[in-house]
């Protein structure tokens, strides 16, 4: 959703990051086209249309779209941020929360195989709740472990999928 004439400072600030989106699209488009053209000649390829044809078209589409988007932004078009029940637009993004969430998320990904899902999942939940402003440390921890242990058994018994037990191997 587009177009706005804002206060000059705010508009410029927003506009610059919108050009970033166009740049991102264009870069991906070029990447897709180049990597398609670099594909080696296939020996088992069947049919007249090779594996490069569609990527070239898709990459080309992205490059063209990026150019049009840049023109749209230059003419004052702006993307409409998505609204929602819990979303309050107006202030800038809360990067501290995002970074804390991403850290909890990455901690789970790094620890899931060594520590096991029960701990890594609990860390993920507890860390996310903390990032989002919950300060009931003990209650959060109890909920976190209840969820991770409960989901471990639900998956093991209900679906036959065993999540990594980690250091609790043999105990769970």
């Amino acid at each position: 959703m587009t177009s706005a004439q804002d206060g000059p400072a705010q508009g410029q600030e927003q506009g610059r990051s919108e050009y970033g989106v166009a740049l991102f699209l264009g870069a991906i488009g070029v990447l897709v086209v180049v990597s398609a053209l670099l594909l080696p000649e296939s020996r088992i390829s069947r049919g007249p249309v090779g594996p490069a044809a569609v990527p070239v078209v898709v990459g080309g589409l992205l490059v063209v779209v990026a150019a049009f988007l840049a023109v749209d932004v230059a003419r004052g078009g702006r993307g409409e941020p998505e609204s929602g029940e819990d979303v309050e637009l107006g202030a800038g993004s809360d990067w501290r929360t995002i970074l804390l969430l991403a850290a909890s998320f990455a901690a789970n990904a790094l620890l899931i195989e060594s520590l096991g899902w029960v701990f890594s999942g609990a860390i993920l939940f507890w860390g996310s709740a903390f990032a989002l402003g919950s300060r009931h440390y003990v209650r959060d921890a109890v909920i976190a472990f209840a969820l991770s242990i409960g989901s471990f058994y639900l998956f093991a018994l209900g679906l036959g999928t065993v999540l990594p037990p980690g250091i609790l191997r043999g105990i769970l």
Partner: protein
């Protein structure tokens, strides 16, 4: 095959204790998840995708259908009882519904939404049962060239949604198609866009893409802009309606069904346009136009019925062509594919038990929704008070769980975070998610059909042209070129109701997007473009509306 005979057999499938239990579970889960702020039906189905690994395909789809309908209904509860609207399809419901709730008529608003959803859902499912086999019979004849054309139409149509930026829709489509390209090319065996990473050789699992875009992206985006003030939930008793509420509601229900079903059945970008269309229609036909904007029951009854009817309509292209028109349908298609079942026209012949069991369970789910939701409304209202820190921490927790359980691979968790970041960026810059997920899911199929068509014609591009595909390409050209065609058309060709709907749609967007960064004014050219798109389907739309329109004076 006789549709009614098959439907009876479908009920045989749906009424087995296991399937019935999962249908009810789906409806309950769907409603609960739909009521929770920030979670729409698409995210609900995406998060529950991994659960299907342990279920039989028919049972899993029956549960998903319950979630689909339940989620639609749950969203309306949120928009009526909370003072901020949620997903796009329930924006209109929030306009009148929230006003009604504030005026102490929350119970009536919830009742007309629930009963209207039931009426619309039942009629629309019946239409689906009657129409789908015929469409599938016609579609079974199509060649790869035609199928490619239809998929191209789906791509173009979902990006050209009324009242939104086309260029951003195309950008989103391009991103989705790119993600779909990653992995080993099935025809030549060559790796594309894998950059030597072995985990990417099999492509990115659609489950990871869906969870990343819908769940992680949503949680991150909301977290970045979390409303820290306590929410204002309007208390509610048991839903009920007076005699005058009934007499003001039944016609909007029927009209809403007639508007919603055909719009859901064509790939034109979901429930937002038809719900606005229904709202404007009711406003025009109402005997109490002065109540609109202050809590008119017709303004809840019509759009809610439309919403559900379009959900059922969306299953027509999904089951007959394998082409999703909404984000939720796209994720359901991914679920069908994960069982190795090829969606498409042959589905009715190859998997009759699945298709008819699914359709029958829609009837059951609909009835269950009505029975559950009227008495449970106060319980659902309590869900709205869940602490937001737990809600979004829980979404991230279940997202990680689901993505990991799909392939037991840590790499997928990092991929999930990257796709989540992409989803957040798309929400920030107004890139719609629907074209992206459709691109990821349909892209590989479209490429396969294209290459098959060109293989048949031995590389001659003329092989893409036959009578049916020409018709489809003409429609695509019309959709693409409409802004230009529009200027040539005489002013009379504008359909006033549609123009007004587009206007309301833009106002609503302008209202909700009204931040310091996004002002509301549009330049004239843009409005013209959008107005142009409005006149696109005048004849068909009118014809389709006629059956549900009660004769004047009845």
């Amino acid at each position: 095959m006789d549709a009614f005979g098959s439907l009876v057999e479908g009920f045989g499938t749906a009424l087995t204790p296991t399937n019935l239990a999962f249908a009810l579970l789906g409806v309950l889960l769907g409603t609960a998840i739909g009521v929770l702020p920030g979670i729409g039906p698409a995210m609900a189905v995406a998060l529950l995708l991994p659960l299907t690994r342990g279920l039989d395909v028919t049972t899993a789809l029956i549960m998903f259908a319950g979630i689909y309908y339940g989620g639609m209904y749950g969203g309306s509860t949120t928009s009526i009882l909370l003072n901020t609207p949620g997903e796009s399809a329930s924006v209109v419901t929030a306009v009148e519904g929230n006003k009604m709730a504030r005026a102490g008529r929350a119970a009536q608003a919830l009742a007309t939404a629930a009963i209207g959803s039931f009426v619309a859902g039942t009629i629309a499912t019946l239409l689906l049962a009657l129409l789908a086999p015929t469409v599938a019979d016609l579609a079974i004849e199509v060649s790869p060239a035609d199928m490619f054309a239809v998929m191209a139409l789906a791509f173009i149509a979902v990006t050209s949604v009324l009242g939104s930026s086309r260029i951003r829709g195309l950008a989103s489509l391009g991103l989705g198609l790119t993600i779909g390209l990653i992995g080993i090319d099935a025809t030549s065996g060559q790796q594309r866009l894998t950059f030597g990473v072995p985990e990417l050789a099999d492509g990115i699992d659609v489950v990871v893409v869906a969870i990343g875009l819908f769940a992680v992206g949503e949680a991150l985006w909301t977290a970045a802009h979390l409303r820290r003030r306590p929410v204002d939930v309007i208390p509610v008793g048991s839903p009920r309606m007076s005699r005058s509420d009934w007499s003001r509601s039944w016609k909007p229900w029927l009209r809403g069904t007639a508007i919603g079903f055909p719009f859901g059945a064509v790939p034109a970008g979901g429930a937002e346009i038809p719900t606005f269309l229904s709202y404007v229609t009711e406003k025009r036909l109402s005997k109490h136009p002065e109540e609109f904007g202050r809590g008119a029951i017709e303004g809840v009854a019509g759009p809610e019925a439309t919403n559900n009817a379009s959900a059922a309509g969306g299953l027509v292209p999904l089951l007959t062509l394998g082409i999703p028109t909404t984000a939720t349908a796209a994720v359901m298609l991914a679920a069908i594919q994960s069982y190795g079942i090829e969606p498409g026209p042959q589905l009715f012949d190859s998997e009759p038990e699945l298709v008819w069991g699914l359709i029958a369970s829609l009837f059951i789910g609909n009835a269950a929704l009505l029975v559950l939701n009227l008495p449970l409304a106060p319980v659902w209202a309590r869900l709205l008070r869940i602490p937001r820190s737990y809600l979004y921490a829980g979404i991230l927790f279940f997202a990680s769980l689901g993505a990991y359980a799909a392939n037991a691979n840590t790499f997928d968790l990092f991929l999930l975070l990257v796709i989540g970041a992409l989803g957040m960026m798309m929400r920030r810059y107004g890139l719609p998610l629907l074209p992206a997920i459709i691109g990821v899911i349909l892209g590989p199929y479209a490429e396969a059909e294209l290459r098959q068509a060109l293989q048949i014609s031995n590389g001659d591009l003329g092989g893409l042209i036959d009578p049916m595909s020409v018709v489809v390409y003409v429609i695509i050209a019309l959709v693409l070129l409409f802004p230009i065609v529009r200027r040539v058309l005489p002013r009379k060709a504008h359909v006033p109701v549609l123009d007004e709907a587009v206007h309301e749609l833009e106002e609503a967007h302008a209202h909700h997007g009204a931040t310091t960064a996004v002002a509301v004014e549009r330049h004239v050219g843009e409005r013209h473009v959008d107005g142009g798109r409005a006149g696109e389907r005048p004849a068909g739309e009118r014809r389709d509306r006629a059956p549900g329109d009660p004769p004047p004076g009845s």
